[in-house]
Every structure is written in structure tokens, then in C-alpha cells.
Amino acid sequence: MTLKKGILDPQGEAVKNALHTLGYGNIDEVRVGKYVVLTLQDSSDSEALKNTVEEICKKVLTNPVIEDFSFEIVEG
């Protein structure tokens, strides 16, 4: 989950400035996001799983006004 493109990310800016201070002058931009791991029950219906995860991302995990998300489903 990350802030949408074009929305100021003050945390990312602060991290970028710290990296510059440490001498990593070649960093142009830092965007800070969040990573969530969901463990779902076994299902053979991968389409349904995908829909469920997408719905959870939209309804709960992100605020669509300011955030984007992407996800992948892998076998545990």
C-alpha cells in the first residue's frame, strides 16, 4: 500500500534527506508504504480469492482517496 503518485509523502522525503546526508546522493525519490500479509484458508477457486483480497484492500486496508495498492497471491 503506497500513497498515490503526486501526493506528498513527508515520511519518504525525510528518509530521502537522511539518505542524502549519509552520502547516497543518487537517490531521487523515496516513497514509504505498508506491507500486509494475509493468510487465507485453502481454496481451489483462485478467482474468488482474488476478488476477496481486492475487496479487503479497497474496503479496509487502504483509503482510496490517497492510497494505491497491489497484491499477489502465493501458495504458503
Binding site: L3, I7, L8, P10, Q11, A14, V60, L61, N63, V65, I66
Partner: protein, 225 residues
């Protein structure tokens, strides 16, 4: 006597401030409403106080909307009841979608706790009728996530509809257009980062918050919109 219901979410911490402001300064009936309450019919006004509901986990205000009382509050808001969200309450109202926009981390990444000057952008609301257009009042802010964001199109709509109620006189937290308070399109729901309930006695540095609370009372006494 009008009844103000103050929603107490797990992690609310300005509920007592609201309670005393309403009871002792506005001289109205203040009642705490536990977040598991499902019927909010009897209240004339609903307030979501400041604090850190649900520990601000995920995003400030994000988890509060799953409380039964908040669910009931949405239904009351849709009926036209006055709803006020202060600070964390404002964050809850934007997360609910009752108010446009979102509140992001302050531009300087710091928790800002101080008195600020705010200007009245619309004096024709149930929350500002005791004020004049352009009037400056002094209210405290105390937040880390008060950086109000709306996209450009929405901002233009808000301005056109008179939904921007208060603006900071100077940039405080990076908010778009220095917005400090907005209403919904219907005008019965307001969210604000400054704390009027903490500014009801000159002893505390300002009593300008009474303009806001008093305006709401006037609105109720004249029978609504």
C-alpha cells in the same frame, strides 16, 4: 434542554473535554455514548471526540467505522442530524466517507500542539452562525495527522458549495488550501482539526470554542435548517 451524545470509542481521549464543555459551559445535557450502542435516536447532536481510536492502527480513524455506534451515527447523519467530528473524529468522518478528502501525516512529520488562528470561511453553517465571515478565532490543535488532502476538482466543488468552514490563517500542517474544517454537501456534518471543546474558558487561553458550540445550540433552538 438539548442532548449532546458524545461517542466514546476505545482510545477516545477528548470525550471528557466535550462532556464538560457541553454540560458546564453550554449548559446542555451531555451524555457519553459507548461505542457498542446501536440506537442514537434520542440525541440532538452527535460528537466524535479527539483521541486515538483503536490506537490509530492501520490509519487514524480507519477502524472506528466498524463500531456499532458509528454505524448508527451514519444513519442519523443521513437523516440530517448534526454531527461533529473533532480531530480524530474528523479522521473517522473522512474514513467513513461522510466527509470528502483524507487526513494525512503532518507535512513536518511532527505532532503539533499549540493555539492557532483560524478564519471563518463560511459563517452560514449550523456550526459558525455566531461568527462573521472572515472573522479570526483562536483554537488549539493537537495532532500528527491533520494534513487535509482533497484533489483539485473536489477542492473547487467544496469552495463552490461553501463546504470549507474554517481555514488556518497560516500554514499549520500542510493542509490543501490551509483547510481546517469542512462540512458535507448537506451541511449537517462537520469535521475540524482544531478543538473548540478545549477552548471554552478564558482560563484555558481562549473561549472562542464557544462560538462553535453556541452556533450549534442556536441551530437546534431555531428548529433546524
Amino acid at each position: 434542554m438539548k442532548t449532546f451524545g458524545i461517542i466514546v470509542l476505545p482510545g477516545s481521549n477528548c470525550d471528557s473535554d466535550c462532556f464538560y464543555a457541553v454540560r458546564d459551559y453550554l449548559n446542555q445535557d451531555a451524555q457519553y455514548v459507548w461505542h457498542e450502542e446501536r440506537n442514537l435516536d434520542k440525541y440532538d447532536v452527535l460528537m466524535i471526540p479527539g483521541g486515538f481510536s483503536y490506537g490509530d492502527y492501520l490509519r487514524p480513524g480507519a477502524l472506528a467505522r466498524f463500531s456499532p455506534a458509528v454505524d448508527a451515527l451514519v444513519k442519523e447523519a443521513e437523516k440530517g442530524k448534526l454531527v461533529v467530528g473533532i480531530c480524530n473524529g474528523f479522521q473517522v468522518l473522512t474514513e467513513l466517507g461522510l466527509l470528502p478528502g483524507a487526513l494525512m501525516r503532518n507535512k513536518n512529520l511532527k505532532f503539533i500542539c499549540k493555539y492557532v488562528d483560524v478564519q471563518v470561511e463560511n459563517a452560514h453553517t449550523p456550526f459558525t452562525s455566531r461568527l462573521k465571515m472572515g472573522q479570526t478565532i483562536k483554537l488549539p490543535v493537537a495532532h500528527k495527522d491533520g494534513n487535509y488532502y482533497v484533489d483539485e476538482d473536489t477542492l473547487q466543488q467544496l469552495k463552490k458549495n461553501g463546504q470549507v468552514v474554517l481555514r488556518y490563517s497560516e500554514d499549520v500542517n500542510g493542509s490543501v488550501d490551509r483547510i481546517a474544517a469542512v462540512t458535507n454537501r448537506q451541511g449537517n456534518v462537520v469535521g475540524m482539526m482544531p478543538h473548540p471543546e478545549r477552548a471554552c474558558d478564558p482560563l484555558l487561553g481562549s473561549s472562542d470554542g464557544m462560538y462553535i458550540l453556541g452556533s450549534m445550540l442556536d441551530h437546534l433552538l431555531k428548529g433546524g435548517f
